[in-house]
Amino acid sequence: MRMTRLFAFPWVWSFIGALVVWLAAVNFTGGHGAGGMITAALSLAVFTVIVGLGQMFVITLGPGNVDLSLPANIGLASAVAMKTMDGHDSMIAVGLLAALACGAVIGLANYALIRLLRIPPIIATLSSSFIILSTDIHYGRGLQIKPPQGFADFANVKILGFPVLALFGVVLALVAWVALQRMVYGRSVLAIGQNMRAAKLAGIPVERVRLLTYTLCGALGGINGALLAGYFRGASVDIGNEYLLSSIAVVVIGGTSVAGGKANVPGIWGASLFLVLLLTMLNTFGVSAGLRLLLTGLIIVGVITAAGGHKTGR
């Protein structure tokens, strides 16, 4: 009975999926590097978790709400962080704050476009991503800017095989869960996603909540850019490219409704681990780049097809 109740949670499936691909990879290597794989997966998954949480809040606002500017945002914030730190350990905190502010401003600008031009968020964030991308190319000058040693060490440090950044990701997910389930802000996001008109009539400051959500998503993208630059020891224009697909995919695979009004925080972690371990598995199998892309795409479409089908209506 307890098992059936556990399976009723949508996020359980994403963790099962992660476990299955990990077992497949471990089985292939004959047990070699099983622990290392988990450590590596945790360190990489945390980046998807950070932007996935931001995207989750945005998507939960209802149909049509999505942030397509995250990749450009991450790229620009990584350059801003690295330029601000300028290789000095003493500037790490300032650089992180700068990246956070840069992301928040981008989120704010996205919301301004949506509100002032009354255009769908997809088009607003798409247009802004063009401009952010150009700004990044101009600002970063296409150079790889190195992080300070202390920051790079921090981004890569592990305690008993558990990456410190992953710990940060877990704490962030806990905070997001509390914000979503126990705070007025989160309940407002859910209410707006379920029925914007009803939420407005119930006295929820709809526009203020939307503004806050887009800004939050942008800020998380900014922080992610700084951390990525630390982890990969350098900022670059295309550092955030893969997070367009993965940020949306983890939200959906994790059990959050694309129709809005229903969010799932643990699922973000499960789905992120699943995606990263999937890539690890394909790498251990030694497949070519083309085949890896093909299989990744097919598995994502397959998982969405299996997980989809909730008749939530529009």
Partner: protein, 320 residues
């Protein structure tokens, strides 16, 4: 006496509506005027042939995107799909035409199947097509691991055709716009297809199959994607797995510039073609003439998009 003034000054709904319809053409005219002012020599047969060289594949991809947007869906894989078609065109269609044609027809079948899948399982099109973008890119790399290959001779000859008086890209754009306009806006089944985006329930209750409308629209997207990829290879004469990547965003921007809307089945084929031409014109010729550094060329697309949308919002407010 003064009492007569307010009625005359009040903008009627029709003026707003007319302005909205003319906005795509207006923005293209503005871009053309800017080009003519910066470099009068560009406004000539050869000038247009050069400037609009790559406009035809972009216009075709934009029309492809427009079909799915009509039914409130979105295709984020059209760019990599165009790249995949390009790779097949530059290899199999050249070396083994029958097999090449079969592969391209099958890929349109995949699109039709996606439409059915998205409808039957109620899936989010953004995620499905994002996943498919990986599939097409992966296939493209498998077909053509390194840039190369060769376009079939007949395709090169067709795309390089020199028409008298009016440059080929302009004639092609007019033909594409008119064909799609009459098919989608003037035919009776076209009205049903648009209705599936405007009011699903009404179309369903009137006895039309919603599944069929989705399958038809996705198949049309696939078909125009195939033509776009082939046209692109006819111009570039060789293939590259990444050749179409930019088309995803360009095609969405083109549809919106052309007056299309994301929901409600409100699209305009002629507007979409004009939107694509505007982006193609603005993308490089204008910026090169204006001495805008290449860093900011991507931003120019964003600025044009935002400017046109701002103008539309302004007109909408007045017209309401």
């Amino acid at each position: 006496m003064t009492g007569l003034v307010p009625t005359a000054a009040r903008p009627s709904f029709n003026t707003g509506h007319l302005l909205r319809t003319l906005l795509p053409a207006l923005s293209m005219t503005l871009i053309l005027l800017a080009i003519a002012w910066l470099n009068p020599r560009a406004i000539s047969y050869f000038g247009f042939s050069l400037m609009l060289n790559l406009a035809i594949p972009i216009a075709l991809a934009t029309v492809a995107q427009m079909f799915v947007i009509t039914i409130n869906e979105l295709d984020l894989s059209i760019g990599t799909f165009v790249g995949f078609v390009g790779c097949v065109t530059a290899t199999w269609l050249h070396d083994a035409p029958v097999f090449g044609v079969l592969v391209l027809v099958a890929s349109v079948g995949v699109y039709a199947g996606l439409g059915a899948l998205i409808h039957l399982r109620n899936l989010p099109p953004i995620v499905v097509t994002l996943g498919m973008s990986f599939v097409w890119q992966g296939l493209a790399i498998l077909v053509l691991p390194k840039p190369g290959g060769a376009a079939p001779d007949w395709l090169k000859a067709f795309m390089g055709f020199q028409t008298p008086f009016v440059p080929f890209p302009i004639i092609a754009a007019v033909v594409i716009g008119l064909v799609v306009h009459f098919g989608l806006m003037r035919s009776s089944y076209g009205a049903v297809l648009r209705g599936a985006g405007g009011n699903q329930q009404a179309i369903g209750r009137a006895g039309w199959s919603l599944l069929k409308t989705k399958v038809v629209m996705f198949a049309l997207t696939g078909t125009f994607g195939v033509i776009s990829g082939m046209a692109l290879i006819g111009i570039t004469t060789s293939g590259d797995a990444n050749i179409g990547n930019g088309y995803t965003l360009l095609s969405i921007a083109g549809v919106i510039l052309g007056g299309g809307e994301f929901v409600g089945g409100r699209v305009s084929p002629i507007g979409a073609v004009i939107g694509a031409l505007t982006l193609a014109l603005a993308a490089s010729p204008l910026l090169t003439f204006m001495h805008i550094p290449p860093d900011w060329q991507v931003a120019a697309n964003g600025v044009i998009l935002i400017t046109v949308l701002a103008a539309r919002a302004l007109i909408g407010r007045k017209g309401a």
